[in-house]
Each structure stands twice: as structure tokens, then as C-alpha cells.
Amino acid sequence: MYNTYADDIYRYLFSYVHNSALAEDLTAETFTKAWANIDNFDFKQPRPWLYKIAKNTLTDYFRKKQPLPLDEDIEIIDNKQSVEDYVDNQLSQKRIATAMTKLPDDMKSVVSMRFLLGYSVKKTASSLELTEANVRVLQYRALKKLRGYLS
């Protein structure tokens, strides 16, 4: 279970906190909670169960600590880009990350699963225990909001 879902959970958490160290801590906390509640583990659908725990872990974290520190160690993979591009890229990424933090939780979850983790609508729906129609609507609203924040 850990091997299969650790990376997805980490990326999901990272899309919220934008800090790799913090995301790792939260991933560890998520799996610790999952392990502690293994009796309630749904073997048929482990993903929604894990995402629910991850979400609760995030909620607990947000309740305790504000504001979120944005990650300083986001690395640009393409080393050939110019300084101008790099700065633009960094700025746009920071902006996107900041805009993401402003989204409501359900929209943030949908956006991170759909566009960061690359899940299909169906997979996102099953992970978040929503209908596919709900996911489509939330995705549309989230993108519109993000566009508003970034413009």
C-alpha cells in the first residue's frame, strides 16, 4: 500500500503546501494515521480512504499553522533556459502556487489530481468520492477562479 500510494499522496500534499520537506512530513503522518486505522482500511477502494486521511491531515496542519511557507527548492529541470525565462517561469510558478492556495479545498483537490497527478475524471471522482459530473463542474469552476487570481 505504501509503495503504491506514497508518491501520489506526497504529490497531492505537495500541491497544497508547496514545500517538499513539509509534504514529506505530512505524507509520513498520513501513512501513520492510515496504519493506526488499518482496521477501517477498505481493501476494495484504498485510494479514497487514503486521500481522506491525507485531507484530514492537511486540515489539522492548516488549523495549527498559518500561513503556508512556499517551497524554496523547486528546481527547474531545463537548464538551457535563459535567465529571463527562468525568472518568468519562477514567477509564474509562484503565482500559480499562490493562486492554488486560495482555492477552496474541494477545487484544490480536483485541480491537483486532474492536472498535477494526471488522474482521469473517473479516477479523480473515485478518489474524492464524488460523481464524475461533480468533478467536471469543480474543475471548470476551479480553472475559472485560478484564471481570475492570475489575471
Partner: protein, 253 residues
């Protein structure tokens, strides 16, 4: 393709074409944003932090090897339950009985003794059936059968005791027949006790006349009916009866 899918999804929820173009660009930017991935070392570190030390220590080849070994051992143990003494798997059977004795509350030495008895009975019955098939062709086998009780007693004292008692019964019968017979047949009677009476039986019939031959048949039938369960005993008894009755019957007549 993905863009088309997204466009269709957005169109389904009522987005206009202009909106769709813009939102697709935004979605593309989101997808291209650098994503932090969980490195293997971080994954290990988290696993240790959580306490899933086995998450990576629990090597799959080792696990599957261990599983295969356990399965093999289990299947061998099950197969060994039919093993007879002398079989290579019999030691495994005895080992499993010892484990059962510790694990299973109602299982004790008496049960193990019963299993041993069953094994001896099975081996005896299989030996007897083998011997029966060759009995008519070899007199030596009949002789061996008469003394076979002592050989089998190595495996099981109880079984040999019961056979010995039947052997002694035959011996008693032989002695009674010997008392009826003359001194010439007493030698055959004594050898009947050891189960090697086939020779004496033949000598008895060889020395008899036609009437004696008829009596032979009667006596053989009589000894067969009275021979009981122990074949070795009955053979020895019939041998002595031949010698005894060959002489007794004409006198009775």
C-alpha cells in the same frame, strides 16, 4: 488528445469556446509546473519514520522464497501423513505429531500410539496380501510366515503378541494332534509349531492310501475353517492335522 478531452469536459459543463481556450492554456501551465516527486531515499526515510521498516526490507524475492518453502513444507507434511515406517517422510510425520501434541490440546501420546498401531496394521495387511499371492508357489514362504511373527514384532509388540497367541493356539492344536498320532508324526507336529508343516503334511499324504486321501480333504477343510485369522497359524495347523488325521481317521472308522 488530453486537450480535446478537457475541452469536451469543459463544454459539457457550459464553458464557452473562448473560455475553453483560456482554461486549456491554464490547465497546460498547471500540468507543466515543476512537481516535486518523492525520491526513493525520501520514500525510505518516510517508511522508517512511520515504522514501516519492512516496506523495503521486506524484499519480495525473499518473501516469495520463504512462502514457497513454507508451502512445500506444508504440502510435504500433509503428504507425509500417509507415510509408513521406513519411508523417508515418516520422520516428518513423527515431527508433525510432536508439534500437534504441543499445539493441539486433545492430542496426546495415546493418539500417537494409535497412529503407530494403524501403521503396523496397514503394513501387516499389505504384507499378508503380498504373501498370499505367492503362498501357493513357495513352501519356504509358508515357513517364513510361521516365523514371521517375530520379525514383525520389531515394528509392533502388540500385533506380534496377538499373532504369537494365535501361533501358540496352533501349537497347542498341533500338540493335541501329535498326541493322537503315532511317534512317526510327532516330528512333524513339533515342526508345525514353528509353522513349517508343509513338508510333514505332504509326507503324511504320501504315506496314506485312497481312504486316507479322502480324509485328507476333510481334514484340510476342517483346519481351514478352524484356522481363524492367522494364516501362518492355520497353515501350520493344517500341516499337523494332515499328519495326525491321516492316522486317526482310519482308526476311528
Amino acid at each position: 488528445m488530453k486537450q480535446n478531452k478537457l475541452a469536451n469536459e469543459l463544454r459539457d459543463v457550459g464553458a464557452s469556446d473562448n473560455e475553453i481556450t483560456e482554461l486549456e492554456k491554464l490547465a497546460h501551465a498547471l500540468g507543466n509546473s515543476p512537481q516535486s516527486r518523492l525520491s526513493k531515499s525520501s520514500k525510505n526515510a518516510i517508511a522508517h519514520q512511520i515504522g514501516f521498516k519492512n516496506a523495503f526490507v521486506f524484499r519480495r524475492p525473499a518473501l516469495s522464497g520463504a512462502m514457497a518453502f513454507v508451502l512445500l513444507l506444508l504440502s510435504l507434511t500433509v503428504f507425509a501423513q500417509t507415510a509408513q515406517p521406513g519411508h523417508p517422510l515418516h520422520a516428518l510425520k513423527r515431527g508433525s505429531e510432536e508439534i500437534r501434541k504441543v499445539v493441539q490440546p486433545g492430542f496426546d501420546d495415546d493418539d500417537i500410539q494409535k497412529i503407530r498401531d494403524d501403521e503396523v496394521k496397514k503394513s501387516n495387511s499389505s504384507d499378508d496380501s503380498d504373501d498370499d499371492s505367492h503362498n501357493s508357489s513357495s513352501d519356504d514362504k509358508g515357513r517364513n510366515r510361521g516365523s514371521g511373527d517375530t520379525e514383525k514384532s520389531k515394528d509392533d509388540h502388540r500385533e506380534s503378541d496377538s499373532e504369537d497367541s494365535s501361533g501358540s493356539r496352533d501349537r497347542t492344536r498341533t500338540e493335541e494332534d501329535d498326541n493322537d498320532s503315532n511317534s512317526g508324526s510327532s516330528g512333524s507336529g513339533s515342526s508345525g509349531g514353528s509353522g513349517s508343516n508343509s513338508g510333514s503334511g505332504s509326507s503324511g499324504s504320501g504315506s496314506s492310501n485312497d481312504d486316507d486321501k479322502k480324509d485328507d480333504n476333510k481334514d484340510v477343510l476342517g483346519t481351514n475353517s478352524g484356522s481363524g485369522s492367522n494364516k501362518s497359524g492355520s497353515n501350520s495347523g493344517s500341516g499337523s492335522n494332515n499328519s495326525g488325521s491321516n492316522r486317526d481317521k482310519p482308526e476311528d472308522d
